[in-house]
Symmetry: none
Subunit: 223 residues, 2 copies
DNA sequence: CCGCGAAGATTGCGGCAGCATGACGGGGAC
DNA sequence: GTCCCCGTCATGCTGCCGCAATCTTCGCGG
């Protein structure tokens, strides 16, 4: 589990990080909202601990920003501003819980658990084709709910096709999905991947077919 | 919106019902757990407000009963028993929030809104794989109901894998689950953890296998 | 309907990236 | 001190994947 801690009191932050790490929680720490925003764009956190009074502004303003950018990690506000009306304010801008300082680490842990007792973050974008379910975010493929493990390049090809299922995907698009700039290919490596992928999907009984559109690209659809 | 209020102090209950109805909330009220249980079987509530000290028992015992019968409505505990450790206790049996008496109706409303914003709490409290049961929130592992204690990093790896059992977990995801951005690793530390974890699970007879998907990540499944 | 060229399919091979594992040692906890 | 977690290195091995050679399919024009 990985948390983002936004807190400008250095000592409290260090103590908290240490305490949390004893519970097996990995904590990233920052003191400014601007940095926090950057971090949430780069990483995915299971939860966010947020102070209200911060050097570059009121912590609560951070919550709507987060939500607008699609981060749905639960936010727990940790603050000395603990009047009932302040708590209402915090919860109503989208905080998931609100805990007044000082607090016991045990209570924080309990509230964390309460808040995390919910489905894994973000909409599980999954694509279903034939008997196959593809999760492009986690790069996982299952056929009839049993996992199918594919070599990396074949997996990338399949995901690229699945994202545009029933539509043609340009050959160049597929190449871009599998290779970066440095990796030049000067042979029919892509064709080879397609071929091996077809065989694997057939063996697994995936119920899909990869069609070729001559001179253009490929297309994935149920068969 | 329809609430179930379980509270034996008649005056408080009446006052609350009145206040809630001003917010357009329909409240069913009962004073006993036995009746409450019946009501939840017959109706579907959006949320449940629960007192701890009730004529026929400790209110908290109600929560596991609810969950076992498939009711996933959020529960807010309202009680005079408001010591930090009592709050921990409440949250850990499955309450979604915990509010000490006396409280402002406005704060109750705010916490209600916060709790209702969250998707239904379907998250598994425990994950079973092979002969092993994993509690990701408390970070505990048992094999055939005897506890297994693992070193911290190996535990984190295992939990991350268990949360997506039978599905691939990206190498980068595992690294993020175990290390924060300050702790960089420049070697095969993760591989080492996996290797040691495998050995430990084998020795313990966990009945699981950690499978590698070359170039992608790892996958936990029963064997 | 046939022939031809180009695009695609398939398969074997070899190099090497990526993984598994054991050993070692520093360092933190008790 | 003593234990053991955990990061690092070295070594061996597996199998992915780029390449190329060969065969098949497709589309077009006559």
């Amino acid at each position: 589990m990985r948390l983002l801690l936004i807190e400008d009191e250095r000592e409290l932050a260090d103590a908290l990080s240490a305490a949390l790490s004893k519970h097996g929680i990995v904590t990233d720490h920052t003191t400014h909202l601007a940095d926090a925003f950057e971090l949430t764009r780069q990483n995915t956190y299971d939860a966010i601990l947020l102070d209200r009074r911060l050097p570059d502004g009121e912590g609560l303003t951070f919550i709507p920003m987060l939500r607008r950018t699609g981060t749905d990690a639960p936010v727990i506000v940790l603050t000395a501003r603990n009047e009932p009306l302040e708590r209402v304010e915090g919860l109503d801008v989208g905080a998931d819980d609100y805990l007044g300082k000082p607090f016991l680490v045990d209570e924080l842990m309990a509230r964390l658990r309460a808040v995390l007792r919910r489905p894994p973050s973000l909409a599980e974008l999954q694509i279903t084709v034939g008997r196959m379910v593809i999760d492009p975010l986690h790069l996982s493929v299952t056929v009839a709910s049993t996992p199918l493990d594919l070599p990396r390049r074949e997996l990338l090809v399949l995901v690229a096709l699945a994202k545009r299922k029933d539509k043609t995907v340009l050959r160049s698009t597929l190449e871009a999905a599998v290779y970066n700039y440095e990796e030049e290919i000067q042979s029919n490596a892509l064709d080879a991947h397609i071929s091996r992928l077809r065989k694997r999907l057939l063996d697994a009984g995936a119920g899909v077919a990869i069609h070729n559109i001559r001179g253009v690209g490929y297309l994935l659809r149920e068969e």
